[in-house]
Amino acid sequence: MNAGLAQVCGALIARDALIALRRRADVLTTFFFFVIVVSLFPLGVGPEPERLREIAPGVVWVAALLASMLALGRLFAADFADGTLEQMALAPQPLSVLVLTKVAAHWLTTGLPLVVISPVLGLQFGLAGDALLVLVWSLLIGTPVLSLIGSVGAALTLGVRGGGALTALLVLPLYIPGLIFGAGAVGAVQAGLGVAGHLSMLGAILLLALATTPWATAAAVRIALE
């Protein structure tokens, strides 16, 4: 009757997926938020195709950054408010693993959709085929980094009023390296330079985040529950 770690993590993902399904609106909104923010820029900046193409990588990446940051509000806050997080901390499994699982589930419902839609948005800004490809790759490697780093901020601001904005303040600076290499990769391919360097740096960052953030997040959660 006692379940192993794998089973528990499975249940956790299943549960979060089910909630996301019930709250389809949620998932969709992160998604539409991304789309809208990207679409706002031509309105603010003006329609010159040349200029748009130049700013495209930056705009898409910044929008992805903001979208996944907005979604952080749903990562722990609700579980914290209704006591589920307490139960997670009491689970006879290592909290860092459970946290990592939650982040994974979160990425599946918030990060992945952005990656999927990004080519369409890239087209809006007149990106060429190879640039589009690089954009997708950079986001595919980059968005998990955003979720992982974000989880630390989200956990740190649990139960702290103004969480949303405070989280933003905490995590946005830490997002910047990801942004630089992600947008940089696309910019490089537009400029006809190689992108391997940028993408591998992104990959390195991802590994670093995977190795470190779960512990930090778990620690932050425990602190919040004390």
């Binding site: 780093i149 630390v152 740190l156 601001t157 702290v160 009023r161 103004g162 405070l166 303040l169 905490l170 946005l172 600076p173 830490l174 910047i176 390296p177 630089i180 290499f181 940089g184 910019g187 490089a188 360097g197 940028h198 740096m201 670093l208 470190t212 953030t213 930090a216 620690a219 932050a220 602190i223 919040a224 004390e226």
Partner: protein, 242 residues
């Protein structure tokens, strides 16, 4: 025990008090000396004229801004690991000075940029990463301020500080990284070699001056934090009384 005994606020409070004057004095003297060397001994720069003298403020501030962050993170980490109140207080005491240093580096840099680059601000990697550092300091302080329970504030902000350490190497190496992205040449690096020895000595003196200043101010702030945190402890009330 021998070392641990200093980790008690009560023991450390008077020690800090007795240390402050020395560091403050050293800071004052070194500043005078450094500024003298900087403004009267060091020769006028053949490229930039007098403007370059900002370097005597700018570089020390910039270095301290990074160094202080590391120290702050260290103490925060110790506080988190061993639950020693004093080290957390130390971290909190350091943060504002670090932020100040960062701000000075940005400010002087911007002022310096005007004559040399013809603009106050360029999105050069170093400038940007320094700006991030400022945001990190601010984030650290806001988080600590946003949590009412001091113990929780200590721990939470400590976690943040440790995570933020990642940014320090980023600051240092961002120059190279950026160059691989855009060709925005970083003035800071290109100028470094062409530096007269007198400039260098003056700069180093100023670095030590800033160092002493930071220690002195942090200790003063630390004493305030101790009093604030321990206000119901018997020994504090005694101090208040007499």
């Amino acid at each position: 025990m021998s070392i641990w005994k200093y980790s008690s606020p009560q023991v450390f409070y008077p020690i800090a008090g007795s240390m402050v004057p020395w560091f403050a004095g050293a800071a004052a003297m070194l500043t005078v000396l450094g500024l003298y060397v900087g403004f009267f001994v060091a020769p006028t720069d053949f490229q930039q004229g007098e403007a370059y003298r900002i370097i005597f403020i700018h570089v020390p501030a910039a270095w301290m801004s990074m160094f202080i962050y590391l120290v702050m993170a260290f103490w925060a980490g110790v506080g988190l690991a061993f639950n020693t109140r004093l080290s957390s207080m130390m971290a909190h005491a350091l943060a504002p000075t670090g932020a100040l240093m960062t701000f000075i580096a940005l400010w002087t840099g911007a002022l310096w940029g005007r004559p040399t680059w013809g603009t106050y601000w360029v999105w050069d990697a170093r400038l940007t990463s320094e700006l991030i550092l400022l945001f990190l300091y601010i984030g650290y302080m806001s988080l600590a301020a946003a949590i009412d329970d001091p113990r929780r504030a200590d721990k939470a902000s400590a976690v943040l500080a440790l995570v933020g350490v990642v940014n320090i190497p980023i600051i240092y190496f961002s120059v190279q990284w950026w160059n691989t992205l855009h060709q925005g040449a970083s003035v800071s690096l290109t100028r470094a070699p062409s530096m007269a020895t007198t400039m260098l000595t003056g700069m180093l003196i100023m670095v030590f001056a800033f160092w002493m200043y930071s220690i002195a101010v942090s200790l003063v702030r630390l004493r305030h934090i101790i009093l604030e945190r321990e206000r119901n402890a018997a020994w504090v009330t005694e101090i208040r009384a007499g």
